[in-house]
Structure formats: C-alpha cells, structure tokens
Symmetry: D2
Subunit: 285 residues, 4 copies
C-alpha cells in the first residue's frame, strides 16, 4: 500500500548547507520525504541525519542511487549507508537456555511486527531446540568450550555467511564472543545485559543488585564490541523493586525488562533507526 | 556565548520540496541550522516543521526575516510563526491557594531554567500573596464570583495587556476561565489538571480515582480552550498508587506530578517547542 | 525445598485483636508465618489481611484447618478463603486472533514462572489453534454469534467444569461474556483492556487515544463483572507516546503493555495475592 | 482528629511467635493497630516489623511503654526503637548553592506535607542565605576548607546538638562529611546523589553518564556512611534521556529527579518508615 522507501543514515562534520543539499537532491529527483531527522553534536562538531523517502516515482533507479549520491557525500565528507524498507534484514538468533527473549522475538516475528527474516537459530546448548522447531526455524547446535571456541565460532561465521545473515541477536546467549565474531559483524550484534549498565556489569548482576539494596533494576541492550558490556547502548529500561523482592523476584521481574528492551533494540535496528557513533548511539524517533 | 537563534514553527499541506525550500532559504542567506525537526501526518496530509538557526551572520536583518520569508510561505500555503531565542516570553502566573506549582515555577525562574519574564502574579485569593512578595513579583488580587466574573476578567485582560503578557500559566488556579479570557490568549493559556485526562475530568479527580480503585494516577498539562479539560494536551505523566494509598496520599503524590508536568509544559512553551494542531500538539524534541 | 504454605485471605469489620488472634492461632499450632500483610480502610471501617505460613510441622492437618479456624472467623465476622501453595490453580485461556498475550502466558507457564495448570484453550476462532498445538494444550473452538451465544457459553461452562477449571484468563478474547459466564466464575475471570481505564473504555481505545492526542497510553487488567470495563482493577501500566506515533504505533507499543500487565495480574491471582473488595482490589505485595 | 500513634520499628532473628507476641502485647493493653507490616529475610534468618497503634486509650502511659515492652524485646533478642507520631523530628538542612531541593523541601514543610521542624539551615557558602531568610529559618554559614574542616564540623555538631537536631538532610550539599559528623548522626544523615547508584558514583555523574551514552539517568537518596556513595539506599528514580540531550539537559532533567527522590526519602524518614539493615533498607509501604 505505502510505497517502499529509501533510508539514508549519514554523519559528517557539521557545516552549513547539509540539509539543503540532501533535501534538494531528493526533491530534484521527485522523491517525497516521509521522515527526516537531524542531530547536531556541537561539542564534537558533528552532524547526523536519517532521511527516508518514497522510491515509487523517484527518478533514479534504486540500484543507481548510491552512485548518484556519491558526489554529494564526498563534498561534505559523509559517512553514510543506504537501505530500502522492503529489503528485510536477515537476522540470526543466538540462545542458550532461557526462553523468554526467544519466544518474544519469534512471536513478534510471526505477527509481522519485526520485519526481518530469521534464517537460523544458533545455540551452545540444546535446551531450546524444541522451541526453534515449533516455529519451523532451523536450529544449529555449536557446543563451545575453551578448547574449541575459535574453531566453533569460525564455523558459525561460515554458516552465517552462507545464509547471508547481516545481524545477530544474542537473546540471552550465555557465551562471550571472541574478537573474530565481533569483527565479522561490527555494530551488527545486539546483546541484552540484565542490568542497568554501567551498574553491575559482568555475571550475576541481579545478585549484585540485590546485595547492594537498590530500589530499581534495569536492563540494557547494546551493540557488542571487544570490551564486554561496554558497547554502544541502544535501549534501557528499569522497574521498581523493594526489600520484599528476593533475588529470585529480581530475576523474574528482570526477565520482563530484558524481553521488552531487547525487542525494542531489535525493532530499531531492523528499521534502520540506529546510528552508532563512537561509543554511543543516535536513535532516530 | 552561543548565537541567538531564529525559530520557525510552520505547518502546511504535505507536498514535495518543503524541506528543500526552507533549508535552502536559510542556507542561501548564510544561516546555520542548529535544530530541524519535521513531522508528516499522512492521514491529515499535513506537514509540520520546527527549524532553528543562528542569526549572527544571517544575511537578513531579524526584523526583515518575516517579510523575506513571506513569498515562500505563500507558495506552500504555510501557517507559521517566527520567534527569537533572546526575546523572552512574558508570562503571568494565575494561582489560588496551593503553593507547590507556584514555588516550583518561581524557583525554576530564579535559577534561570525557565527563560521567561514574570511581570505579575494574579490570584482570586490572597493566601499566596506572601510567596509572591518573597520573590519580589507584583501580586494582583481579583476576587471573583458569579456576578463580577466578566468584569473582573476584563480588568485582568487589560492589566495583562498593559504588561505585554503573551502567555498565562494556571498554576493550580481554581476558577474556570470564561470565553473572553480564552479568546484573548488562544493556545497561550497553560493549565495543569490533576488527572490523567481524559480519565477523571472535572472537580475532585483524586477522589474519583480512589473510588474507582485505579493503580496509577496522572496529571495532564494542556492549553485551555472553550471546552473545559478538552484542550490540546502538552504533557502527561503518571505515578503508581496502591490500596494502601488514601485519597490524602493520592493528593500528596499527585502534587509532585502536577509540579513536574506543568513545569515541563511551561519549559516547552517558553522554548517554542509546541505546535498546536487541531486538538492535539506536535511537541518537538 | 521450601515447605508448602497455607494462605489465608480474609476481611472483616475493623476491630481490636484481629492480628493477635490469627497470629496466635498459627503460633499455638506451631505454624511459622512467612508472610503477613494487613490493611485497614478507615473510611469503610474494614480490615483485610493475607497471612501465609508453612504447613510442614503445623499441628493441624491441612484438611482440618478450615474447620479449626471456623470459630475464630465467626467471632470476628470474617469473610475468608484458604488455599495451599502446592495446589495449582487450573486456568483456561480464552483467545481470539492476537498472539502476543497467548505466547507470553504459555512461555511463562512453560518456564515455571506461572504455577498454574492450563488444561485447555478456548477460542471463538481458529487462527491460533496452531499455537495451542505447538504447546501441546487442547484447543476448543466455539464459534459465537448473537444467536448461539447463550448455548455456546453454556457448553463452554460445562467443559470448564469438566476440567475443574477455577479461573479464566481472557488473553485478548474479543467477545463480550454474557452474565451466565460472569456468574459462573465470580472474580475469577481476568481480562486485559487495552487502555488506561477509565479512559477509553469500549472498542478501539487506541484510535480514541490517538484522536485525543494523549502523551501516555496504558493497559488495564481487571476482573470481569457484569459491567463491561468496570470490574475491579488488578494492575495497570503505561508507556509514553508522541505525535510521531501513528495509531499503528500505539497498537504496537500497547501490545507490550497488554502482555506485561496481563501477566502480572495472572501471577498475582495464581499466587493468591488479590483480595477483591467492593469494586476495588487489595493487592498484597 | 486521628489519635496520635506509637510506632515500633524492630528486627530480630526469625523465630516463631513474634507477631503473636507483639500484637498480643498491644491488644492486651487496649491498643488499636492501624498499620502492621513485617518482612522476613530467609537468607539472613532475620525478621523485621513496623507496627503502629493508637495511643489514645492505650493502657500504658507513653513514657512507660518502652519499659513495659522491654521484657518482650529481650525474649526475642530484638533491636528496636519507639517513636510517636506527634513528636516531630528536628531536621537540619545542609546546602551549598543549588536551590531546587531547598525550595522544594521548604515548600513541602510550609504546606505541612513534611511533619518535621527545621530549626536551622547550614551552608558552606552564602549563595542561598536569602532563600533561608525568605522562609524565616536561621541560616548558619560555616565556610570549610581542608585546614578548618575538623574544627568547623565540630562547631556544627555542637550547634546541631544545641538545637536538639536529630537528622540532617544534605540538600545538594557539596562537601564530603568527615567521620566525626557521620558518627554523630548514624543512619540519620540523608544525602541525594545525582546518579543511579552504583552507576556513576563520585563527582560529575551527569558528565560521565553523557559520555557513556546511557538512555536513562537516575538519582539516589541514601543514608550517609563512612564510604562515600555506599550507604544504604532509601529511594531511587530515573528518567529517560536521548542523544538529543546535552550534558546541560541531563543536569536540568536530573534536578527534577533529585528533588523528588530526596523529598520521598525525607518523607519516609520523618514518618519512621525506614529500617536500615546492614547496608540496605527495609522501607515500609
């Protein structure tokens, strides 16, 4: 019904005329902008923009847009990417044994809320194989230990490439990724950490939070970088707790946070609304 | 330190080339955009934008901008307004007897958070005269009853005009404004209602909420229109309550909501971030 | 590992000595209280309490507790119920075509978070039959129209009784229940309404909320009574929206609310933490 | 109108019969319980309770209650304290130069929401002397540097004792207290820290939070102990931020959090609802 759109995410040094130039480029070629949001970081002297326009009726063929846009991008020194709303990202889910994020993502996928393809599910255990099968998604088991980690990850990367996967969602995947995996999908691996980062990084954050006597617990979704729990934050949320809540209650309440926060991050990623920038993210509304 | 800015708020029928035209106009005259946010309402086929640019170095004198912009506005059929960041709105506070919103707004005004002038405070009672005096702001007492309402409001309007007031904040003012006052300040009177509208309009909303057994209470800030509690909503927030909370507790917790929500609405108004549109508002981030 | 517990929910006219009498009864019989929470409503002159104690080592057999407690209950004029933590409620899920609450509840059930049995799923359509089957839960289709409503509901009630169901969860069930069904399960049917009641009762609340231009949307879980959307509220939650959110976005964001709020209500019910009282609920922490 | 109440806060090793014994003691002496809340920490094998009963009609004189309760307390090994609702805590406010928490607390004090006396305000600067004077509260200036800190604090302690102060609220007081001050008011000094502890302890938390790119900021109120920012947490709250928020916006939004969270903690303290326990707090609803 609605026309598919082209989505441009870009950043460059802040300077006059960027909006005029890009909106002029789109208008001159008969494009209709449906969303444009810019952001200026005065401290970093940096400019960021997401612009989305209908490609039905656009005078440049979709395959030729990048080339046509090149000179403008060069003039302003842009870093940029171009995507199309009707090209669905191919996302692999990595899981271990907790089912809440997995069910939630598959349910949203099935209902059409998450416009992505899920060609495969990867796990270091077999606990959730049945869930994958219920949804008819191929399940791949890669048991991992210290000795075989490099080798197994290399096999995973090969498999992901074979399936033309362009993003990974760690849906409570309880294995630390090695550098090769992070390098293979830079700013394309989304993790959910079960605390309000930077509070309580590492293992057993609910136990630490309970021990500290906090009155609010949180969850954080972020892109995975080489430093564990230090990557660019995409989304965070919190919920109240009290002295009446045991660690077990923290875990139970936290699961809802993890589920919601991870789903929000995946939705933003799939809709090309995230622009990672140094160790932060610009999240376009 | 930072340059003052010009702030354009506009709406028009959605059509191609609006962003290109406006950003082109600014760029051609050497203006540097510091904020631009647009919004398209596809159902209403309407386009909205807020754009803010530095006027130091802008080639058009500030007094001549409106005239220079006129042809462009006409071409696209725009409804628009232009303001300058260094021209502070002149805001009158209307109060009755509750002090929380008053103290809060005066405290924010004093600390510089609210970039507005407060030339006078108006009240239908004298309970809070001392607070006005502590802050050195002229206090005007207009006792109002059924018989004198029209006359007293007419006197208030005259006084407000004399002080070149361009907005009114009803900081828990417990009198319904008549049509003449609403007409004198269209979309320029901000009210705080102590419920999550449209739930519990009218008087004693906390009592009604308690009676209904809700688990969350709210507050709503809105522009005043002829229909009580029906004007465009600017900001809303909520807080949890439980069976342990009496009506008295609802009132106590609600005061914090009222304070925060009203302050947020005033801040948005003072910073020209609100575009009322039919019975809703576009609130630019 | 932990001992099973007896759970007493009671209310009576407020008077001296209730806590002393009940805690004395438990202590004299060697019971160890693990949770006790009371509430006094001074306006209604009413007293409410939930008390939970370990039954391992309790001197009265579990089947004899009710009888032994009878005289005390009589003395204070109590309305009361007794349950045991190791007797799982038998809950039927009623659904129509939206899958988010269903997946969520089944996932929580499967992971053990919801300590209930789900002997059957009832639907007026067949859209979600596959989901029920994936989880191995018998699915019963009762197509309902004006003509057959009474008859079909009577058949449902018979089926529910046959399965010894003691509570019903309407997990986005899009049919209004008739009086016979409500009477068959008083304060035992939990519904999720997709608005912040009492705002936007009835059909299409997200559309109404969008039209009104609210800045926050909500969801409400409540027991079903004869008056639609008027039953005792169990849980409510909200999330922010803005002018950028279309009705479609309201629906998408609202689904998360519905899921969380319904799951919370079911958890509270299953754990015997809700005491309905007139048209409100006491929810014990 | 309502009777004044006695408020007992107690903890002891968990064991059978505590509730029965205490509620029996009150009932036998004709006391009417208006609030009773208990909490069991199974890991620590500890029992906690707050119980509040009317003293009009209680058979033991208020001055004799402690002695009469002594044997019971001894039997169960209780740590306990007794207070009366009509004996207002005497609270000193410590401030530096930011006015938001000060105005807020004085406004709540003036309106009667905070049932405490404020005999004096202490500051290491004179910026806010005028605010104290507006409210008619004696202002004491104690300039502090490395050399005179011990001496000045000793003078402060003497002054506080002279005014029979029993609690201190650090309303954005920008000086670290030395051990002698902490020791003089154990679990009676309430601080507001402008972050979601344990994230971002120390100075300039908003800058650190902005640098890290968080999507939520918080504030934490806690009792002051010898370890800075490590004391028992009383209350926490958070608000959303985005890439559009500068450090300046973090500070602005954070002020609202600080104000609300500190006021909540003071209210809880004044109403004897906090039971510090190791490095945590039990906060009775």
């Amino acid at each position: 019904m609605a026309s598919p759109t082209a989505i441009l995410l870009m950043s460059c040094p802040d300077q006059g005329g960027i909006v005029a130039a890009i909106s002029g480029f789109i208008h001159e070629n008969a494009g209709n902008i449906v969303h444009l949001e810019q952001h200026v970081d005065p401290e970093a002297n940096a400019f960021f923009m997401r612009v989305e326009w209908e490609i039905d009726g656009f005078r440049i063929e979709r395959n030729a847009i990048a080339e046509a846009f090149g000179p403008l991008a060069g003039k302003f020194g842009m870093t940029w990417s171009l995507a199309f709303s009707d090209v669905r990202p191919r996302v692999a889910l990595f899981i271990t044994k907790e089912n809440h994020c997995l069910y939630d993502l598959l349910s949203r996928h099935e209902s059409g809320e998450l416009a992505m393809d899920v060609p495969l599910i990867v796990s270091n255990r077999t606990d959730l194989q049945g869930v994958a099968e219920r949804f008819g998604i191929p399940f791949h088991h890669f048991p991992i230990n210290k000795e075989n980690k490099q080798e197994q990850e290399a096999a995973e990367i090969a498999l992901l490439r074979e399936h033309r996967v362009n993003a990974i969602v760690l849906a409570r995947y309880m294995q630390i990724l090695s550098q090769q995996m992070v390098d293979a999908f830079p700013n394309r691996i989304i993790n959910i950490h079960h605390s309000f980062l930077p509070a309580f990084p590492g293992a057993r954050p609910y136990h630490s939070a309970h021990q500290r006597g906090v009155k609010v617990i949180g969850a954080t979704s972020h892109y995975v970088t080489e430093d564990l729990d230090e990557g660019p934050i995409i989304a965070q949320d919190v919920t109240r707790v009290s002295h009446r809540d045991s660690v077990h209650d923290f875990v139970r309440k936290g699961k809802d946070l993890e589920t919601i926060v991870l789903a929000r991050a995946v939705w933003l990623h799939v809709n090309r609304r995230i622009l990672p920038y140094e160790n932060r993210t610009i999240v376009f509304g």
